[in-house]
């Protein structure tokens, strides 16, 4: 009997459809795995009833001879940044502890309407701020991967979607939602040897997603292969009138359009992504990716994105500035934590609640944001950063004259140990390859390319033109077919 938890989204969907196994059997298998994986701390809340109800609906539909929904029988994990009706949603913060939304986010609602079931809410970096899942109020997520040195050092699963990446890699769910503001789907995918795509800004609705940086936030799928990501993204994407930045465009049939051939495609290699401090293994993987792309029929072109080095500092002005505005709503009045010291007036309540409720990294970013938006500094910092952002976007536009897609490493290293990176800037540098495409709103994905000397996954990133998720997915598939990545973490939990 196959271990059902080894199956991905497509295999589960197809197996339920043909009656190879029931949706209930699948749900039960994953529910058991989730319940035994508490040491990873990937799940904040387990919702087996939700998964079982969705499974029952799928099994009943099949018994009645109805056409099954696109994700019927597929149980998934839901990052805790998505508001789920009747289920605690905290963004991994103390300030939202106890908040139970009376509404469902658009993206999660679309997944349930497509027939998927929820195994639980996934842990993450607090308010999506972090690259290692070390800023959650509810404790670190620990990667299911360990180095081959036998040292047992707990490793970061990446962030901010660390619960999602850990859960998928550990086979606790076949897929999960993530969000990506500066790299929070792609970098954790790279660290844990799975796939993840951030679509073009506006493809997925932000309604009901706890806001971090509104001009950057995008929901996206994470799963173990490109096909599963395509299936999930089709269910998640689409116009939403409730999100003023939602693109009013039909959702392409990305799964049907999948092709591993890159014949006729020009793949650009941006020379500024070759940084001095890049480990030799990452450089080698990048070259390997280039060879795979050539093998798939692509022409390789060197391109230049001259403003690349300004992307991270620009992001660390823009994102905190937007966050300082978005997080102003957490004041102890309408939801979440209220800290009311003896004799406090309203202003004292705000200050005490926010001091008690926000973690250190969240406070740091709110303060940076407040500073760069304050009188006298707005033009020097925020306006300047938004102008640099135009130049970064323009660099990509110019590159598209010479190529159709870009290939880069996803992250500048493999997963590091929890507690190893204490300097904020060192942590920010994790996003050096992912932030530019975030600022430009371009679709980008990470696929696993191989393992490093310590046996840890390394990822390759593909960036595409606006709205060319198909091109990005296809290039991802071309690499996936040649990488033959089958490594998986041994269960230490």
């Amino acid at each position: 009997m196959t271990d059902l938890t080894d199956l991905g989204v497509a295999a589960i969907r197809d197996g339920v459809r043909t009656g190879s196994f029931s949706a209930r059997e699948v749900a039960d298998a994953f529910i058991v795995k989730v319940s035994k994986a508490k040491p990873l701390n990937a799940f904040l809340v387990e919702t087996p009833d939700h998964a079982i109800a969705a499974a029952k609906a799928a099994d009943d539909a099949r018994a009645a001879g109805e056409t099954l929904k696109p994700l019927a029988g597929v149980p998934i994990g839901m990052k805790d940044l998505f508001c789920t009706k009747g289920v605690a949603s905290t963004a991994a913060s103390h300030i939202l502890e106890g908040f139970t939304p009376p509404y469902e986010s658009t993206v999660s609602g679309k997944l349930w309407d497509a027939g998927a079931g929820m195994l639980g809410k996934l842990n993450m970096d607090q308010f999506a701020m972090g690259s290692s899942n070390e800023t959650s109020y509810f404790g670190n997520v620990i990667s299911p991967w360990r180095r081959s040195d036998g040292g047992n050092a707990p490793l970061a699963p990446g962030g901010s979607s660390g619960g999602s990446s850990a859960a998928i890699a550990a086979r606790l769910c076949p897929a999960a939602t993530g969000t990506d503001t500066g790299g929070s789907i792609r970098q954790p995918a790279a660290f844990t040897g799975i796939s993840g795509i951030k679509p073009t800004y506006g493809r997925c609705s932000r309604w009901g997603v706890v806001a971090f940086a509104s001009s950057l936030d995008q929901a996206g799928p994470m799963a173990r292969d490109v096909r599963d990501c395509a299936i999930m993204l089709e269910a998640m994407a689409g116009f939403d009138a409730k999100d003023s930045t939602s693109l009013d465009l039909a959702v392409p049939k990305w799964e049907a359009g999948l092709s591993g051939s890159l014949a006729g495609k020009r793949i650009g290699i941006p020379k500024e992504y070759r940084v001095d401090t890049m480990p030799a293994e990452i450089e080698a993987l990048w070259q390997q990716g280039i060879d795979w792309a050539k093998d798939a029929g692509a022409e390789i072109v060197e391109v230049s994105l001259p403003h690349t080095r300004y992307a991270l500092p620009a992001y660390y002005i823009i994102a905190p500035a937007e966050a300082s505005s978005n997080l102003a709503r957490y004041d102890g009045v309408r939801y979440g934590l209220r800290d009311l010291p003896e004799g406090a007036n309203l202003q004292d309540m705000y200050a005490a609640t926010r001091a008690a409720g926000f973690g250190d990294e969240v406070k740091r970013r709110i303060m940076i944001g407040t500073y760069v938006l304050s009188a006298g500094f707005y033009d020097a910092y925020y306006t300047q950063a938004q102008k640099v952002r135009t130049l970064i976007a323009r660099d990509f536009e110019r590159a598209w004259e010479a190529c159709d897609l870009l290939l880069t490493p996803t992250a500048p290293s493999a997963a590091f140990g929890l507690g190893e990176k204490t300097d904020p800037i060192a942590m920010y540098l994790n996003d050096v390859f992912t932030v530019p495409s975030s600022l430009a709103g371009l679709p980008a994905m990470s696929v696993p390319g191989g393992l490093d000397k310590a046996g840890l996954p390394l990822g390759l990133q593909i960036i595409g033109k606006p709205l060319d998720e198909q091109g990005v997915l296809n290039a991802g598939l071309a690499l996936e077919e040649r990488a033959g990545f089958v490594a998986r973490p041994d269960a230490w939990w």
């Binding site: 009376p102 693109l247 660390y316 303060m367 940076i368 323009r394």
Partner: protein, 95 residues
């Protein structure tokens, strides 16, 4: 522009986050470091560009001016730390 303890206190006040003397002393060099790293943006010649507004040219949609929501008071109050008589309650505002 360096970030000192006085600046941190001012920012914390603007952001409505209570901060102790020790926290301010700890955060000041961290923020100063980050702002120092960000300083390099000043090198870029942006005289010929406008701030970026959207990835894909977009315009703000309008909708018909009709009521499409409401009458959900209990749902709205369902997460309130303190609610009375159908209102959110807060400490006295008027001095």
């Amino acid at each position: 522009m360096s970030v000192d303890i006085a600046t941190v206190k001012k920012i914390a006040s603007l952001a409505r986050i209570a901060i102790t003397e020790e926290e301010a002393a700890r955060i000041a060099p961290e923020l100063d470091n980050i702002m120092g790293w960000i300083e390099q943006l000043g090198e870029v010649d942006t005289s010929s560009v406008e701030p970026m507004t959207a990835v894909i040219p977009n315009h703000l949609r309008l909708r018909d001016d009709v009521v499409t929501d409401g009458n959900v008071r209990d749902a709205v109050l369902s997460n309130a730390p303190q609610a009375e008589h159908g209102f959110f309650t807060v400490p006295k505002v008027i001095e």
